[in-house]
């Protein structure tokens, strides 16, 4: 088994290198023939035009035919394989080494796409499961409609709408200092009520009750927010943290273990209680926190969850561990969220922000200085819109796959067997169906990661974020070959790598799949 795996890996690596080399050749020749890198100079009326052209030709070896120039490029790129060697991916038209601009572009792209990518998977899978469980209900049909609608929206249009309503509209609302208009509160409450009654379902009486309760709750929260000027100076407060923590404990236990497992419930409650205690005791530490502090606290949070899981013991230790870790992490997130909210007012009243926090361009406010929390809010306000716009589009496909995947699994014999054994529905779904449903999602995730590092060309351009997509776009327009090839290398390697990882993931997820050399 061990040797077959090694053989498999080696063979895959050898094939991958061949694929990369061949693809880079095709890409190089195609890009070289996409236009004229001297175009801007040809229209010049400068007295030393010939010399300028000669300088660029010499700098980029433009006198060598593209097919041969590819070998020159390959020679430089091959040095990247030598450890600690001089990695030479060439220069851009403006004399910048590609090896120095690539990491910055990658970082910007990862910062942009990672949150939307993770959120899209989580939301997509959750919504997909919910729709599959309520197949052909009003909820299912509405989600299907909405996800196809979002999927077919062009991203530049989404971007423009988001900028108009969420950035400019919300900022105007904040600056005016007015409350939320009453008709708006009523409308939002009614919509929220509709969504909840569809989600929870039941007979007419139960639906009406759900609608009434949820609409009333939404309306009163909005009214409270409106009269207290909450958007100017938000916060969850003790009550908010408490309510959210209880909700987290309840939901986590309900999904991950069921209330029959008293020990898991106990673990969840302890984890929640520790989060509430942390909320009171850690505020002083938060005020002087740096990124390192928060990273440490995150590690401590997970450790605390593990310790609680072990401490409560019980028959199903793995399940208890899961519950307490999930509750620890999520409720710590609530405490963190509350702390960010406490800094919000300082952020929006800073002179650089000037009361208009939601940004439409860039990844941060130039020259904005502040502590960890303010910097975090600054990133949030800048990445909010691009993240939503990416999320809305990629979320749709995950919903579809998750729904179809779960429905297919639920129709299988072993699920019927599990139900026949008298297992509770929660166990059937979470334990038996969920894992098998993930297999097609794994393929999708693997291919998406490759596309992900390629950046989102349109989104990056519209939101002026200088990631991989922007780099590729700008370079292609100037027929600047070396950065195009740098871009190509990164996404080609990621694509090959993640396809390989997906193959290994099948083996891990599906016992029927075996890797063979």
């Amino acid at each position: 088994m061990g040797t077959t795996l090694v053989g498999f890996v080696l063979r895959r690596i050898a094939v991958s290198i061949l694929v990369l080399v061949a693809a880079s050749f095709i890409m190089y020749v195609l890009a070289a023939n996409a236009g004229d890198p001297l175009q801007d100079l040809r229209g010049s009326s400068s007295p030393n035009k010939d010399q300028l052209i000669a300088a660029r030709v010499a700098a980029l070896d433009l006198d060598v035919p593209p097919v041969l120039r590819w070998f020159l490029w390959l020679g430089g790129a091959a040095q990247c394989l030598v450890p600690f060697g001089t990695c030479d991916l060439g220069l851009t038209l403006s004399n910048a080494p590609v090896t120095t601009i690539l990491p910055a572009a990658m970082l910007a792209t990862i910062q942009l796409v990672s949150v939307s990518f993770i959120l899209a998977i989580i939301l997509g899978v959750v919504v997909g499961i919910a729709t599959a469980l309520r197949q052909y209900s009003g909820f299912d049909l509405s989600v299907t409609f909405i996800s196809f609608f979002l999927y077919s929206l062009p991203s530049f249009l989404v971007a423009v709408l988001l900028k108009e309503f969420i950035a400019i509209g919300f900022n105007n609302f904040l600056q005016s200092g007015d409350g939320i208009p009453l008709p708006m509160i009523l409308l939002i409450s009614a919509v929220a009520g509709l969504i909840w009654q569809v989600l929870i379902g039941g007979d007419l009486r139960r639906r009406l009750l759900t609608f009434g309760v949820s609409a009333l709750a939404t309306g009163s929260v909005l009214f409270y927010i409106s009269v207290t000027g909450w958007f100017q100076d938000p916060g969850l407060g003790f009550i908010g943290v408490l309510v959210l923590t209880i909700a987290i404990v309840y939901c986590t236990v309900a999904v991950a273990s069921g209330f029959a497992n008293k020990r898991a419930l106990l673990g969840g409650v302890i984890a929640g209680a520790i989060a509430i205690i942390a909320y009171f005791t850690l505020q002083g530490l938060f005020d002087v926190s740096s990124g390192g502090t928060i990273a440490l606290l995150a590690v401590v949070t997970v450790l605390v969850g593990i310790v609680i899981g072990f401490a409560v013991g019980g028959n199903d230790r793995g399940q208890n561990l899961r519950v307490s870790i999930i509750v620890s992490v999520l409720s710590a997130g609530v405490v963190l969220l509350d702390r960010y909210m406490q800094s919000w007012n300082a952020y929006i009243s800073s002179p650089r922000i000037n009361g208009r926090p939601i940004a439409t361009v860039g990844a941060s406010t130039p020259g904005f200085q502040g502590d960890f929390w303010l910097q975090g809010i600054d990133s949030f306000t800048h990445l909010l819109l691009p993240t939503i716009s990416l999320l809305l589009i990629s979320f749709a496909s995950y919903t579809r796959y998750a729904r179809a995947g779960l429905l297919e699994v639920l129709g299988q014999d072993y699920i019927r067997t599990a139900r026949a054994k008298g297992l509770p529905e929660r166990t059937v779904i979470v334990r038996h169906a969920f894992r098998n449903m993930l297999i097609p999602i794994a393929t999708l995730v693997a291919t998406d990661v490759g596309a992900l590092l390629g950046g989102a060309i349109i989104t990056e351009r519209v939101f002026a974020i200088s990631g991989m997509g922007a780099l590729f776009n700008a370079s292609l327009q100037r027929i600047d070959l070396n950065p195009i090839m740098g871009y190509f290398i990164v996404i080609a390697i990621t694509a090959v790598l993640f396809n390989f990882l997906a193959d290994l993931a099948y083996a891990a997820l599906d016992p029927r799949v075996r890797v063979r050399a």
Binding site: G43, S44, S45, A96, V160, A311, I358, P366, L471
Partner: protein, 595 residues
């Protein structure tokens, strides 16, 4: 539950982890920081990113580099930290708070530059004639002994120290300058009169920084410049290692992909100095603490953000993230700006599109056919479809040499009569053709929608007069310009707005930009005379005469100037349109906050 020892160990482990974490946490915290930046800030958006602190090299000659150079010193011969800059009508504005220059003799042409006493670079070092000497050495190519192959433009032998985006034309005829007045003045003598002598800005990068980068003291560097003989292409010698190091640094050392660790790259002579730079995102300029001149701004910080998408610039302006924008002009952008209640500033750029006819070969060797073809060009219609939507006050360009912002424009139009071609004269063209149906191949850039529109308008009109038009457009139009497979071409020139050193390129027989083989001995003589003319009125007359001769020879037609567009959201005052290459920042020193 029963194994209490194990439980105890767990609790102990937990306590140990907690204790250790507390210690690490204590080491990993920060004291609180003040929120936000300080002082009055103006943010503007430009389309292209910043790549170099020296915009005068071939690879860095980009508009945003030029803007930063202009604000911090001198770039492309103009700047707030030098002797001169251009006004919105392209006339020269002298900055006497920096220094003065005067023509002390006309024959030979001798110009004396005198710095104001007490000026300092932003790092506190004095600005002296050493800096002017270095600037002269860099701009004149005095020490170069390279022989350039006229075909490829590459050096066949010898050394070319500094690679310039501009050219050494003019200063290459100067002899070694004289330095005087306590090392504050520098006098240069031209061997031949030079028409654009007033556009020579005798200051550039700080000599002390260049010397340090070359590994020598400023004194030694100045001494070296004094000692080194002029380069002689006929007898090339080994390059001087120190000057080579200095030149190499000047050529590429200012190119950056992140905020430079070496702060000497930032040293500025202008009212602004760069304080922060995020690649591909933004650059921040603050007031130069050592600046004592007249061009100091009232605000503290200027942030230039690079936003490639024009619509993103508009929403950023609307959302108050930037105070002013300098987008790619288009009708959509203008409309979006109007909808956002922005204040717009439209005008003409110095770049213009033109139609040129091949003079020597093919169908246009016959001047009558040229004349007939020009009569069919619907210039007003082309202007209205391409430029008017962006700049409603735009007019057809009626000169090959001047733009309407120039004082000579009216006289030139009166002399040349290019304004007769505003509307097509199909009947006149038919009469000239007398029934002939010549075939005309038109070359243009098929990737440029403006050129495609121009081509289609011209084709339609010319065909109605009997011409047979062949679409010779290509995305590779640039490489095809120099060839012969076309009869007429539509493309654009970018002129600096001021100066006359570019004339021989375009109009002289065999000039580097003379793609349509224009050759008229009278024009050649006038062009040669223009390059040595030192009298402004005489020069204007020469250029007007050249313009008129191109009309008589049916050289081609100027079509329109590209429109330019700035906008602000009312939060700053003082913006004014300028069509030159520094764009929106040309009067950044005059802006004030408040609306």
């Amino acid at each position: 539950m029963a194994i209490t020892g194990q439980r105890f160990r767990r609790v102990a482990t937990l306590a140990a982890i907690a204790g250790a974490s507390a210690m690490v946490l204590a080491a990993c915290t920060t004291s609180g920081e003040e929120a936000g930046g300080s002082g009055d800030t103006i943010s503007i958006a430009t389309t292209n990113a910043f790549t170099s602190f020296n915009g005068d090299t071939p690879q860095s000659n980009l508009d945003t580099n030029g803007m930063v150079g202009y604000l911090t010193g001198v770039s492309g011969g103009l700047g707030l930290g030098g002797f001169l800059r251009l006004d919105s009508d392209f006339s020269i504005l002298k900055d006497e708070s920096f220094g003065t220059y005067e023509r002390v003799s006309e024959d030979p042409l001798t110009v004396k530059y005198t710095l104001k006493d007490g000026l300092k670079w932003s790092d506190g070092e004095p600005i002296t004639a050493d800096d002017m000497l270095f600037s002269w050495a860099q701009q004149s190519g005095y020490y170069d002994d390279a022989t350039i192959d006229p075909e490829t433009g590459e050096a066949v032998s010898g050394t070319q120290y500094f690679s310039l985006a501009g050219s050494t034309t003019g200063l290459d005829t100067t002899s070694f300058p004289e330095i005087g007045d306590d090392n504050l003045s520098l006098t240069i003598t031209y061997d031949a009169p030079f028409v654009d002598w007033e556009l020579v800005n005798m200051i550039g990068k700080p000599a002390h920084v260049i010397a340090e980068q070359a590994g020598v003291s400023l004194e030694d560097f100045t001494a070296l410049l004094n000692e080194l003989p002029a380069g002689d292409p006929a007898a090339p010698v080994e390059p001087n290692p120190t000057l080579k190091a200095a030149a190499d640094f000047w050529n590429t050392g200012y190119d950056v992909t992140s905020f430079p660790e070496d702060e000497s790259l930032l040293v500025s002579s202008g009212p602004f100095v760069v304080s922060a730079f995020t690649p591909e995102s933004d650059i921040t300029l603050v007031k130069n603490p050592e600046y004592t001149g007249d061009l100091s701004p009232e605000y503290d910080t200027l942030i230039i953000r690079f936003i490639g998408d024009s619509n993103a610039q508009v929403t950023a302006l609307q959302n108050g993230e930037v105070n002013a924008i300098y987008p790619q002009p288009s009708a959509d952008t203008l409309e979006a700006l109007k909808a956002a209640n922005a204040i717009t500033y439209e005008g003409d750029q110095v770049a213009y599109d033109h139609l040129d006819l091949k003079q020597q070969s093919g169908v246009f060797a016959d001047p009558v056919v040229r004349e007939a073809f020009l009569k069919t060009v619907p210039r007003q219609q082309i202007l209205e479809s391409i430029v008017t939507p962006v700049n409603p006050s735009a007019k057809v360009l009626n000169s090959q040499i001047f733009v309407p912002a120039n004082a000579e424009y009216e006289d030139a139009v009166a002399a040349s009569g290019y304004d007769e071609f505003a509307e097509p004269d199909i009947e006149g063209a038919k009469a000239l053709l007398a029934g002939a149906t010549p075939t005309v191949r038109i070359l243009y850039n098929t990737n440029n929608p403006n050129r495609v529109d121009s081509f289609n308008a011209i084709r339609q009109s010319a065909e109605s007069a009997g011409f047979v038009i062949v679409d010779a457009g290509s995305p590779d139009w640039g490489t095809l310009l120099d060839g012969g497979e076309y009869d007429a071409s539509i493309f654009g020139w970018i002129s600096p707005g001021a100066g006359s050193a570019g004339l021989p390129q375009i109009f002289r027989t065999g000039g580097g930009g003379n793609y349509n083989d224009y050759s008229n001995p009278e024009v050649d003589a006038l062009v040669d005379a223009s390059q040595v003319s030192l009298d402004a009125d005489e020069l204007s007359q020469i250029k007007i005469d050249i313009d008129a001769l191109t009309r008589q020879d049916a050289y081609g037609l100027p079509l329109f100037q590209l429109p330019g567009l700035f906008a602000d959201n009312g939060s700053i005052k003082g913006l004014e349109y300028f069509g030159g290459q520094t764009g929106i920042v040309w009067n950044a020193q005059d802006w004030t906050i408040g609306g």
